[in-house]
Symmetry: C2
Subunit: 366 residues, 2 copies
Amino acid sequence: MSRVYNFSAGPAALPEEVLRQAAEEMLEWRDAGCGVMEMSHRGRHFTSIIERAEADLRALLALPREYKVLFLQGGGTQQFSQVPMNLLAGGSADYLVTGAWSQKAFDIASALAPNMNGAVRLAVSTAESGFRRLPRSDEYTLNPRAAYVHLCTNETIHGVEFMSPEQLPDTAAPLVADMSSHILSRPMEVSRFGMIYAGAQKNIGPSGLAVVIVREDLLDRAWSGTPALMKYRAMADSGSMLNTPPTYSIYIAGLVFQWLLREGGLAEMETRNAAKAKQLYDCIDGSDFYRNEIDPASRSRMNIPFLLADAALEADFLAGAERAGLLQLKGHKSVGGLRASIYNAMPPEGVAALVDYMREFARTRG
Amino acid sequence: MSRVYNFSAGPAALPEEVLRQAAEEMLEWRDAGCGVMEMSHRGRHFTSIIERAEADLRALLALPREYKVLFLQGGGTQQFSQVPMNLLAGGSADYLVTGAWSQKAFDIASALAPNMNGAVRLAVSTAESGFRRLPRSDEYTLNPRAAYVHLCTNETIHGVEFMSPEQLPDTAAPLVADMSSHILSRPMEVSRFGMIYAGAQKNIGPSGLAVVIVREDLLDRAWSGTPALMKYRAMADSGSMLNTPPTYSIYIAGLVFQWLLREGGLAEMETRNAAKAKQLYDCIDGSDFYRNEIDPASRSRMNIPFLLADAALEADFLAGAERAGLLQLKGHKSVGGLRASIYNAMPPEGVAALVDYMREFARTRG
């Protein structure tokens, strides 16, 4: 086989240019005498790599100065514990539950809160809809004195996305958003959030890295029992080097940021991603054979779940797709069906090939 | 420049064969249609990678069945918190402090213990010797009912190593050892330990990965406030896949394990490492210009700190070494001086080149 179109939800496809550069630099990075994986994290070469990665990420997101960028370990899921440990501060936090990931964040925070003399409140859940739509603002009220309000702005499994600023919760409390599966897919108004976090393995780089973007005034609220490496303040003050950071993952993330800047930044990504998603949704909506059950105003551009009119054909659909070089289209086991994850690194040609395959499959088997 | 001899304490030099294979497989692993970094961690390809990595590690260490292997994030330092959270269980733990890393482990555990209604006790510290020797068994007594006894079997900064089984603490309590900087450097009698852990970035692979080897009967002692991803039981039961693991780091670690097996395993590594260390210590001890202040019975084979008779010549020594292709010989900032870290991946030729350089420097500048 050669490289195919990889619709994995994560770890996900990376830009081929990034992988080529990484392969070329594996044995020696510039004139360092060794590869990036072998470099001291305190040396001048790696310092230049992490500093450029942060600067490029700041440029991409137009990050205001008062936000710190942390490169952490543990992926997005570790943040489900780390957020309440750092931000609950003996208060109460509101959680919006709009799919599997925000549900997990709520469950983990709920289990930890009593140890910290804090509380976690379910502000709203759309479980009764099968997580097929975002909550309307008149369905919930938020505690204006909440320590924070947590939400997942793109649900990777259920395929719902907070798209417009109007869909975001309106509150005086700091918004904390899990953006793992749509960060960098379009410009984001960061100043609406107290904190943003993302596991890297979708739009950023390899698994094993999480990016945390946190407003400075939120750094000093950590619970005393927080493990040493999990305190945002300590990580911010040490430039994410309280201990050896995941150096190679940060290097790859930096190459992805450079690629995004070369390609035109997040405005260009939004144009491309909107077009790719439209092409796929149009194919689904224009057919009696396929369906996506998500409320159109809540649909994700990154993760598009869909069903066949005849579920018994799923195995054939997947086998044929694999033969056509279209991989990882199986839906998450918790919801079944099919799913195409079309992150930044998925070229328009990949979506076009998927749509061609879907039309042909529906014509011959539908 | 081309590839040089890299004496970094970590992240450290990796075998060139491993890096070449990684570069070749970057864009496509076997017939997977994508690279390892882009693979779903639940798919058959990555499953085969992590299963082989574990099997090879078990073979290298001759691991008894009752030990679980966990591939975790956070490096060795995260374990300084994770060990007491999982093993203290409201009891008291004894800590041996023999250098900077066991001191840090003790400090972090001490700060966390009160939150968990547990206690941490300093059984012995060799700080008064400047951490230049291991403690004698008649210098300390251990609590036979301790939840565990923690030690660091090789101190990367101070260069002391527990070499013989007789040097290990004699106790009925489970021994928990930080082996970050000498794991896989020689055969280890794992059954002496309740748990072993190691950050990967010395003898295993890239930073951002920690390997934990823990006896099954110790899995169920976790404190209720332990963050979800930090519970050994949950990680053991999920095959280290409670969330997305650091897939690429595990793949590289697996390539290192394969390389170790091809080279003859840990007995062969011990032969090579003993010879390399002897050559360097002989050079130091045979000269009035260099000195290593560690008690000979406590000396590390992996990390060899040394001093010049005239400290003012250190900068010249380092500059000349760099010109000769001998990198990262500066001592840790906390102790100063010089240090050569000579892990498995450092070939004998690298040590020979260092010794040649040292003799020539002493001859011309001593």
